[in-house]
Structures are given as C-alpha cells and as structure tokens.
C-alpha cells in the first residue's frame, strides 16, 4: 500500500503511466489485428529515412512539444493558459509564407526574400503576439484566458488577411527543410529537441525557473523578495509566443504552404493537455518541463493510436476532451478532499472490523 502511494506520488507518474497505457493499447491492437506484437516499436529505414510508428509520433508530436515548452511557463507563472497558441501558429506561418512568396502571390517556387528573413519574420510575429497577450495579463491584470481569447479569434483572421484569403504555397526545397528530413532524421524532431534542450539549459543555468515558480506560487512574497512579478509573467507570454512562432513555421513547412484555416487547429487544447498530463497543476506554481514534454508526446501517441484505430481527425477531440476532464477532475481540490474522506471512512470501517 505504501509502496503504491510512493510510486503514484512521483512527479512523473501521471505522464509515464499514460504513455505506458497507450503503448499497451497499441500492442493489443497489433496482436488483435494479427501483426507482430511489437510493431509499434519497430524502427526501420526506408528510402533512406527513418520509418516506424514511434518515429511518426516523435515527428508529428514536435509542434505540441514545442508549444508545451511555452505553455508550461505560462501556466506556472500566471495560473492561466494561453489559448491563442494555435491561432498564433497559423498567423506566424501565414506571415512567413507571405514574406517568402510576396504579398498576393498564391504559389511560388522562388523565394521573394532570403529564407532566413521569412522564418525570422514568422517567429518574430509569434513573439509579438506573445507580447500582446503578456501585456494584457501582466500589466492590465486581465484574466489570462480572456486576454488570449482576443488573439485566439483574431490571429487566424489576420493571417488570412496577410495571405489575401488564399492558401499560399511555397514550393521551395530550402523551405521544405523544416518539415522534412535532415539526413535520415525528420527535422521537426531535431527542432523540437533543440527547443527543449535550450529551455532545459536556461532553466538549469539561470534563475528563470526559480523566478517563474516563485511568482506563480506567491506573487506578493516574490515582490517583497525583490522579483518583478509583472515582468516575469510578461516574459513567459513572450516565450510562449516564440514557441508558437517556431511551431507555426514547422507546421507550414510540412505542407509547404500557409493554410490559415488549418495550421495549428485545436493545438491549444493539445498543448494545455500536455501540460496537465505532465503532472503540472493548471493552478500555477511548481512545474516540471520534462513532464510536459512526455505529456506532449503522449498526446500525439493517443492521437496516432486513435487514427490507427480508425477514428477520424474530426472525432478525435471527443476523446481528448474526456481525457482533459478526467485529469482536471483528479486535480480538483473538492475531488481530492472527497477521496480523502472516502479512504478515511474505509480505513475506519476496516479498523472497526478488525476490532
């Protein structure tokens, strides 16, 4: 009993548990459909690139992982979520493609400006959106979710405007690189890894993590101890916007186009879900980046598994919504209190029986 409690109390229990569960489902599915039982884990090289369901999950999960990096900080510092990340991804992608193709051009093979300008432009746009959100939350004290609601609806529309209501195709190999392959490795995996590593190093080598958690746990006390709470919250939102910008570029590069209506659609839910699944409280405070990252890939594994089981992409949100509800319910204080009372009652009943 005690041992069980120790294991379930571990920081990364929830995400790892979910991951194992998903893998188990996959194994059962493979056995049931008569495939090799560990089909899920097999990695092979076809056409000179890595191939396999695991690779697919790592690849497709890149955007969510990148978003989760920013979202974790936002949740920790401001006890709220940034629901605009999906839309901001789309805006960043549109802006980048618009720069690369030139305004009003719907399809191009040649780049109008150097690749770097376009990509940096897109990422900068993401930061700008983050700064807008951050300003509202940190300096005007608007509730995070309401503040980000503005860009949640406007960013996609602005993206459409930038692209003149068209889907802008950039059919250029150098642009395809971000969503394609580096050698045999899918580039998105590398980009996600770099983002995660940079953030990990930042957290390890600077006091950023301490500052953010401190502000998230007790804003007043942090101020007395010399932290500029508003500035720290602001920075978190900018980082979140930056992450959305990067994810947007990757998303656009995958399909060599800026499809404003579809890039980043529903990604805000995935990113929030990743953070919650990673064992982080949506009420802010302590966070565990590793948990969020595992959470992100778990989400992707769930999505991929759902697709493998024949669930369409339109229906998948139903399952995810249910998972979100279960996780937040488990985290909810009244539920915890109820469970405690129940277990106390059970213990009492046991004690009574023994006596």
């Amino acid at each position: 009993m005690n041992k069980l409690k120790k294991i379930t109390g571990m920081a990364l229990f929830l995400p790892i548990f979910c991951m194992v569960l998903v893998m188990a489902v996959n194994i059962f599915y493979d056995i049931a459909s008569g495939n090799f039982a560990f089909n899920f884990f097999t990695i092979s090289i076809r056409n000179g690139v890595l191939y396999g369901r695991l690779i697919d999950i790592l690849n497709r999960g890149s955007e969510i992982a990148i978003l989760a990096v920013g979202m974790t900080l936002v949740v920790s510092a401001s006890a709220g979520t940034d629901i605009s990340v999906g839309s901001v991804m789309s805006l960043a992608a549109s802006f980048c493609c618009m720069l690369l193709a030139g305004y009003g051009v719907s399809s191009t093979n040649d780049l109008a400006v150097p690749l770097l300008v376009g990509v940096l432009g897109g990422i900068l746009m993401g930061c700008l959106c983050g700064a807008f959100n951050g300003f509202l939350v940190a300096y005007l004290n608007v509730q995070p979710m309401v503040a980000t609601l503005i860009l949640f609806s406007a960013a996609r529309a602005i993206g459409l405007l930038l692209c003149n209501n068209l889907i802008v195709y950039v059919r250029n190999d150098s642009f395809k690189f971000f969503g394609g392959y580096t050698g045999f490795m899918p580039t998105p995996i590398i980009i996600a890894a770099i983002c995660v590593i940079i953030m990990m190093v930042l957290l390890k080598k600077t006091a950023l993590g301490l500052y953010i958690q401190s502000v998230g746990i007790n804003k007043k006390a942090s101020r007395i101890a010399g932290l500029n709470s508003a500035k720290i919250i602001f920075v978190c939102y900018v980082v979140c916007g930056l992450a959305a910008g990067i994810a947007g570029i990757v998303g656009a590069s995958r399909i060599s186009s800026a499809d404003s209506n579809n890039i980043g659609l529903n990604y805000e839910l995935d990113a929030i879900l990743a953070v919650a699944l990673g064992g982080n409280s949506l009420g802010g405070g302590k966070f565990n980046l590793a948990g969020s990252i595992i959470g992100a890939y778990t989400i992707q594994a769930i999505t991929t598994t759902l697709y493998a089981l024949g669930v369409s992409s339109d229906v998948a949100p139903v399952y995810k919504a249910i998972i979100v509800l279960i996780i937040v319910t488990i985290q909810a204080p009244p539920f915890k209190a109820y469970m405690k009372r129940m277990s106390a009652k059970r213990a009492l009943a046991k004690g009574g029986a023994a006596a």
């Binding site: 709220g80 979520t81 629901i83 509202l136 005007l140 004290n141 608007v142 509730q143 979710m145 309401v146 503040a147 609601l149 503005i150 860009l151 949640f152 609806s153 406007a154 996609r156 529309a157 602005i158 459409l160 405007l161 003149n164 209501n165 529903n266 839910l269 929030i272 949506l282 369409s312 339109d314 229906v315 998948a316 949100p317 139903v318 399952y319 995810k320 919504a321 249910i322 979100v324 509800l325 937040v328 319910t329 909810a332 204080p333 009244p334 539920f335």
Partner: protein
C-alpha cells in the same frame, strides 16, 4: 443623494449604445445607395443574429457569475448537425428533434455546471473541454455537410415571414417591399425579454449578480453559490440550444465547421454590452446592443463587398480588446479612489 448618478457601469453601456448609433449612422451615410437606410437592413441584422442573441443572453448570465462559457459555438454546430441529420437521414419529427436538442443542451450544461460549481474547476478549462467534445460529437453524428430540404414542417417554420406594418417602400423595379422578420427573431426577442425579467425579478437572477459581486459574501448571506453556478451553466447551454435552433433555421444545414468562433462573438457581444469579465455587472440589454454592433460590423463589411470577411472578426476582436482595456482602466480608477 437622489437622482441617479452615472457610474462607470452605466457609462460603459452608454458608450456601447452610442457606438452602435454612430456605426449605423456612418453606414447609412456611406452605403445609402446600397439600401442601408431601409428598415429591412436593420431587420436583416436581427434575422442573421437571432441565434447569437439567444446565446449572448445565456453567456451574459454565466459571465455575471464571473465565469465564461466557450463551448457555445461547438454546441450550436452539434445542435444543427443533430437537427439536419435527424430530419434528413433519420426522418424524425422536427418538433421532437427540437425538444431533444433542448434536452441535450440541459444535460450538457448540467455536466459543465457540476464541474464548475461543485468540482471548482476553472470555467474556461471545463467549457473548453465541452467545446472540443461538442465539435467532435458533431463529426460523430456526420462528417459531411447536410442540408435540410425535405422536412416540410421545419422548412415552413424557417420560411415564415412576419410583416411589419410600417417602413414599406417601393424598390427600383416598382415592387412594394414590405419589411419583415422571421421566426428566429421572435424567439430571440422573447428570450431576451424573459431573461431580462428573470435577472431583475427572480431570486435566481439576483443570486447571479450576488455570486459575481462577491462569492464569499453571497455564501455568508445564505445563498447556495454552487447551485447558482450550476444553474447558470445549464441556462447558458439551454439558451445556446434555443439559439442553435434559430441558427439552423437561418442556415438550413449542418456541418462540422459551422459556427466556428461563435463563442467569440457571444463573449464579445456581452463584453461590449458592458458585462464585466470579473462578474457581477451587466445586463442583457447591453448584450442586445453588443449583438447589434457585431451584426452591423459584418453587414458593413459585406455591403462594402471588397473587404475580406476576416475583417469583421478582426474588427470584433479589436472592439473586444478595446472594451477589455477600458474595463481594466475603470477597475484601476476605482481602486485608486479607495
């Protein structure tokens, strides 16, 4: 002491009404050649936004408690799809389907309200889950676009015209145009009046204000805060379903991507109408004008003809942003006064 002073809340409402008048007047001046001055243009705004009005009324109630409900857009999509598929593919009775839709709304709201009120989960998270759930369920019912054309009863309802005895004019072809509204407008206006009366004259209505004003005080004064919240979300989802039926009468179809971003319009309408995001202040009359402003913007964009439709959602978002900042400034001013 006597004589109502203008406080910041009334000021917000006045700004909104003024904004609407100015906006409409500008439209009349610029687009008078395109018929903007006719009464029918105004009535069309009502017809096109009847569903939104119902939803905004529900949203206002939820926002009064300090909460928010972003599931409404998806719920409308689910309702429309359910109606369309029910009529076209399952061949069910339209009346029965409408009742079912309303029931679905109630149950949907019950679950959300329980999570917010009794489990104390943030309203945003709960209703976001609700939003994705409803959108996904829409796809579960059917992934294609389904048009309603065979159900005579429903088509009849949707095509009903209620003529207005004044404001008629003869158009360029010499045909007399009598201004009219459709059934959804009547439903929406009835909802508006009922919710207005409920907020003013029932214990539940006043409890919504009390809970939003100060939750702790409300508890101390003996109100059941949890139940009030639960009821608020049920009401929102129910009115959303009513709005969904109105919406369906306009579009006569169901599709997975229907009513995308409608929650945004509803929230924007309420906020523009003077409902405070922090709860406790607001009125459906304000939300009514919020909806009108919303409708006027999209009508202006449409009448222009050259502007992209995304301009209207950007304009609404900009307005929302403006009012949020305004509220924040007012709140700061109030704080510094104390």
């Amino acid at each position: 002491m006597k004589g109502k002073k203008i406080n910041s809340n009334t000021l917000l409402l006045l700004i909104t009404i003024g904004l609407f008048v100015v906006m409409y007047a500008v439209g009349c001046v610029i687009y008078s050649s395109k018929g903007f001055t006719h009464l029918q243009t105004f009535l069309n705004i009502l017809i096109n936004n009847a569903g939104l009005l119902c939803i905004a009324c529900g949203m206002t109630c939820v926002m009064l408690t300090g909460g928010i409900d972003i599931s409404v857009g998806s719920l409308v999509a689910m309702d429309c799809m359910f109606l369309a598929v029910g009529m076209e593919q399952w061949g069910l009775n339209a009346g029965l389907l409408c009742v079912l839709v309303l029931l679905i709304g109630l149950v949907f709201g019950l679950v959300q309200g329980f999570c917010v009120g009794y489990l104390e989960i943030q309203p945003f998270i709960v209703t976001m889950a609700g939003m994705f759930f409803a959108r996904g369920m829409t796809a579960v019912i059917c992934t294609d676009q389904v048009s309603i054309s065979q159900n005579a009863f429903f088509v009849g309802l949707a095509n009903m015209k209620f003529e207005i005895p004044f404001g008629a004019y003869t158009n360029s072809k010499g045909v007399l145009q009598v201004p009219f509204v459709r059934l959804p407008v009547i439903i929406a206006l009835v909802v508006l009046v009922l919710v207005f009366l409920m907020l003013r004259y029932t214990k539940f209505g006043r409890s919504l204000y009390a809970v939003g004003g100060n939750e702790q005080s409300a508890t101390m004064m003996g109100l059941n805060v949890k139940l009030t919240k639960l009821k608020a979300y049920m009401l929102s989802s129910f009115l959303c379903s009513v709005g969904g039926i109105c919406f369906c009468m306009n579009t006569m179809s169901g599709s997975v991507r229907q009513a995308l971003g409608l929650e945004m319009d509803a929230i924007a309408s309420a906020v523009i109408g003077g409902t405070l995001l922090t709860g406790g202040v607001g009125n459906v009359i304000g939300s009514f004008f919020g909806v009108l402003i919303n409708g006027t913007i999209s009508t202006l964009v449409k009448t222009n003809g050259k502007l992209l439709s995304s301009w209207s959602s950007i304009a609404v978002a900009a307005l929302l942003c403006f009012f949020i900042v305004l509220q924040s400034v007012f709140a700061k001013m109030k704080d510094s006064k104390k």
